[in-house]
């Protein structure tokens, strides 16, 4: 006998995914705890510069989760498993949480809560402007990710949430712009982003081409937007 899909997702897959998504923040907390000799957990240390490391872990986690979120639709289309969509909201909200943690690590440990320096950075440094813009957009999407907001926004909900494509581009750009010289890793992120956005563009084009041919003999209706 197979378990019902609702039960499988609600009691197994989702809690499991939730725990996996907590791993980076748990690692950072354990690393700080170890460094302060409060905890003695067997985790890889955060090294001589835990602040920079923390920024990196949170930033990478946000980008990784955004890219995984963007993998859900292609995977559903490739496997035909529509249930995968049930996991997407959690992935997206976690991506936002890590982006927020990345920002808070920057505000507190990295900048020492210096409001003037932070404002100057956001205003003057293009890569920080990009990252901050992406964070604000991501927060808007996380806030409107609830069922209530989906109902309230109706059709516009999907339009709004297409912002995720802008966010991932800004996020990868933000990363690219701050490395000193070695762009191999940002390039990898950019390639995966290009692949995921390219897939969507290609499918959209193919779909339009299909509907154009099938509509060939039909009387033309005013295009709906």
């Amino acid at each position: 006998m197979t378990m019902r899909t609702d039960v499988r997702y609600g009691f197994i897959y989702k809690p499991l995914l939730f725990l996996i998504c907590l791993v980076p923040v748990a690692w950072v907390l354990a690393g700080i705890g170890n460094a302060l000799a409060i905890t003695h957990l067997p985790v890889p240390g955060l090294g001589a510069d835990p602040v920079r490391r923390m920024l990196g872990i949170f930033g990478h986690s946000a980008l990784n989760l955004l890219l995984i979120t963007l993998c859900v639709s292609p995977l559903r289309q490739l496997t035909g498993n529509a249930q995968l969509l049930r996991l997407r909201r959690m992935l997206g909200v976690f991506a936002c949480c890590y982006a927020l943690l990345h920002f808070l690590a920057y505000v507190g440990p990295f900048q020492g809560f210096d409001a003037h320096a932070i404002a100057a950075d956001i205003y003057k440094r293009p890569y920080i402007t990009l990252g901050f813009t992406a964070l604000l957009m991501l927060l808007a999407l996380a806030i409107t990710s609830t069922n209530g907001w989906m109902r309230r926004l109706g059709r516009r909900w999907q339009q709004l949430h297409r912002l995720v494509y802008v966010i991932i581009v800004l996020g990868v750009w933000h990363y690219w712009w701050q490395v000193k010289k070695d762009i191999r890793e940002p390039l990898l992120y950019a390639s995966v982003t290009a692949l995921l956005l390219g897939w969507r563009w290609w499918r959209r084009r193919a779909r339009r081409a299909r509907s154009a041919t099938s509509n060939y003999a039909l009387p033309t209706a005013p295009e709906r937007t």
Binding site: F110, D114, K124, P126, K180, D182
Partner: protein, 319 residues
Amino acid sequence: MPRPSLPYIPPSEITAERHFQVRRELLAGALGLAGAALLPGRAVGTAAAPALAPLHFTRNARYRVADPLNSYEEITTYNNFYEFGVDKTDPAANSDSLRTRPWTLSIAGEAEVTGTFHLEDILRQHPLEERIYRHRCVEAWSMVIPWVGFPLADLLKRFRPTSSAKFVEFTTLLDPRQMPGQRSGLLDWPYREGLRIDEAMHPLALMVVGVYGRELPNQNGAPLRVHLPWKYGFKSGKSIVRIRFTARRPLTSWPAAFPGEYGFYANVNPRVDHPRWSQATERRIGASLFGQRRPTEMFNGYGEQVAELYRGLDLRSNF
């Protein structure tokens, strides 16, 4: 090939036995540096220090810093040394392949004495001293480091640079087998750095052979590196194999790769930002989680000693 001999050193310059003994005692003192009185709240990490030979040195009281020292672990696991990889932890992980013995140093260019010398022949002639210097990276982080070395000027003078020697160029070892990072095209290897001759002759410019009383670990630029505490860290060439006196300003590695971001002078200057980040403040590595940010000082706090070198020079365009 006959090796040119080093210039004659009067016996008075050679360390007397009694000083030698004093140094041994000082060394014992240095290893006891972990004393809580000297370094409140900081572990020095000498217990975990690798089997690097202890050095004989005196402590130069003129070059001290009020701030606590960074730990041995911080100094030796957080490095920018792209010859071993671009991550801060890469040099400590990947530099075992560097062989620092035997090591030769070539002297070339506008000097009366040029040629290739064995490092130990050179080092024999320089009494070592410990100097505690602030180290400021162009990436806006800093450390406080107890280097062991000798004045760069003492070394350079031995080769009697001629009047046409206006600049000095330092070249790092080029050997991708020993330095795996050189297999990537990140920079135009070998790494080259340079100074105006008066900067190089300044008493603050230090030829470094050790840290925390012991020989330099490979990741810190063994066996021979310079340290220029009033300049951003990238000016301090590591694992140096060649020193060349030149009449014209040498093209150095970072300005060659990114002329808009890194300059030849690279003096620490809180008023001249890097195009992508502010230099007004810096993070002191190892300070508490929320207390790392501190204002950056002009010339990294060494203005009293070095500002004279740059009188009349526009430090904004000559960044």
